[in-house]
Symmetry: none
Subunit: 201 residues, 4 copies
Amino acid sequence: MPESHSKRKYSTAATRQALVTSARKLFERNGFSATSVQSIVDDANLTKGAFYYHFVSKEELLREIHDEFIDHQLTSVQSVLSSTEDPGEQLRGLIRTAIEAVEQYRSHVAVFLGERRFLSEEGFAEVKEKRDRMEDMFYGVVRRGQRAGRIRADLNPRVLSLGVIGMCGWAYQWYSPQGKLSAEEIADAFTVMVWEGMATG
Amino acid sequence: MPESHSKRKYSTAATRQALVTSARKLFERNGFSATSVQSIVDDANLTKGAFYYHFVSKEELLREIHDEFIDHQLTSVQSVLSSTEDPGEQLRGLIRTAIEAVEQYRSHVAVFLGERRFLSEEGFAEVKEKRDRMEDMFYGVVRRGQRAGRIRADLNPRVLSLGVIGMCGWAYQWYSPQGKLSAEEIADAFTVMVWEGMATG
Amino acid sequence: MPESHSKRKYSTAATRQALVTSARKLFERNGFSATSVQSIVDDANLTKGAFYYHFVSKEELLREIHDEFIDHQLTSVQSVLSSTEDPGEQLRGLIRTAIEAVEQYRSHVAVFLGERRFLSEEGFAEVKEKRDRMEDMFYGVVRRGQRAGRIRADLNPRVLSLGVIGMCGWAYQWYSPQGKLSAEEIADAFTVMVWEGMATG
Amino acid sequence: MPESHSKRKYSTAATRQALVTSARKLFERNGFSATSVQSIVDDANLTKGAFYYHFVSKEELLREIHDEFIDHQLTSVQSVLSSTEDPGEQLRGLIRTAIEAVEQYRSHVAVFLGERRFLSEEGFAEVKEKRDRMEDMFYGVVRRGQRAGRIRADLNPRVLSLGVIGMCGWAYQWYSPQGKLSAEEIADAFTVMVWEGMATG
DNA sequence: AATGAATGAGTATTCATTCAT
DNA sequence: AATGAATGAATACTCATTCAT
């Protein structure tokens, strides 16, 4: 029995995906508010009617972009943590994971970090919870490292973890896949800097 | 020459300032695109007519907010650099200056970092130049420190400086003046971390 | 010829009826314009495709609701008129019939009286003719009563009949089957009032 | 001192009034839902921007139309009730007032009676209260007439008053100022019918 | 007989900007 | 220096209808 071949442009899933991808591209470039639904459907070669058949609102796109990214990221981070118990190795892994996300999911990260505020209370609850969980993992590594005597205990663990997160997250502002720096080099440099310090001797 | 006796609510400068301040507050909260001129003038207890008497466009507000901040910041940074020649001290100063900016100019920083993209080509040129100059100062400190043998030469200086900038800039996302952490504590912890490293021993 | 054995949810007639019933309910509540085809098919647990298989347009529903009601009503009215020749009894019968319609076909009446205007020229012609015939029957009773000397001849017969029609039709605005008043009581009171008058003595 | 002569099309009040009048005309013809804001501003020779400068929503127009009418009507009804204590005269006055309203405020009445449901909960509360007050006045006349022995006590006063209201209100469906029947004739015929009855002798 | 996807025109509303006063 | 009225284009979203399957 031959597979039925639809005459429609895409399957449902493909249409949704096309819209989400166009939206992500435009949200990254112009921001959520400055991106019109019209521009999204134009980019995806569809119509507004089609858009609202698949999504209940523009905000749903934002939620979907967050979802796409954060679940993947949470998984990566968790697998790092379960691969070793050494705080230094864990930190190295988290930094590498974060920089790789910037490399591979640049626009996701840009939208994730820059357009958070446009998720409504309801839409945001789940995303916020996951994001907090991710931040907590950085914090947990530092905290456990301090308890184990491997990380300096005289530094506030919250500040340390937020510093590392900022350093990594900010990379989406300047990282270019076409540039000379590989994600690995960046992650390594960051790891050395925060672990061993800049100073010689 | 006698001063002119104005019958108006405010002086020109005061009106401008009121509008810029309202705009900054709202841009921080809702973003540039999602903030209407109406909401700005409402907040400043004025009308749209008054707004367009003082500004040619909404974008001009954004430029003004950038200006207000970046000139002050450039001055601070320059004074840090001229106060010492020790790379460690310079880095400490830059970090402290950055965190203090987050503390004292929180909304400026938020707008500066989050709403850059809405400055048009023309409006942005000057701002961009100053921002680059500021980033170059971080880079310069690292570079000179490496040449002087005080900073590890095996790490890419660009990556180091961008890491420090990200770490500090990101603080506007989580720093709260009401919180337990003082700007000084944060700056000290950041400095120790990147200079001496997290690891014990 | 054997009956075709349908595999479908409903018979054609049942599906049509389900849609008409849902539409009537919603037209009564929200009016024709403010009721979307989507809300109708949702209420009937069907899809828009099914709707347009059975009806050519939303307007056709309105016509069908009118038809359902007016044919039944015309028959009732005609049977009243042929049951007696006494003008008083005829008037009593017409009023009772009208109030019973409000009792039993409340939503039909509501749609019939309130959403007439949305029937297009073509759709409306037939309905209009039947409605006029019904109004003419009220008028005819009054007119014949006047000729027979049983109804005051000093009153305009058009005004009398329209007054009675209005009094009865309006009842759909306030009549509640759950209330204390029975349709019979209402019809009786209306009949006495217009036939004998409110005044004592 | 010469009056200042504005170059604007209308004064504020006149613009508002022009919009309300256009809206009333169109609401009467097509109903609230089927009337677009565009069609209203076209009719008033203005733009949508101007409309939303003067009104917060389309619903506000509806509220305004109701207000315009019901306050006037309440005043008329109250002055009738205070002009005489005779129940027959009061009833005659109420009927005449109602029919005159249909004559002079035909479109107001049409909108008032036909488009009630589109007033939101908040917008409707005040209107509903006034409408109830008006209905209560009809009821009060009947009730007092019964207590005074001037109106038959065997008829439910609620039914009587609602019958009279329906009879009068319905007139907006058929009354035409160009027709042969004057408002006075209609009111007189209604009054005689419900007061003395249709029957001869 | 019914579905699900899509269309295109339309809806109410908002907005940056203009301008006569 | 500031106001109030107005514009016109844009915005998010809805809707009746179509059609391949």
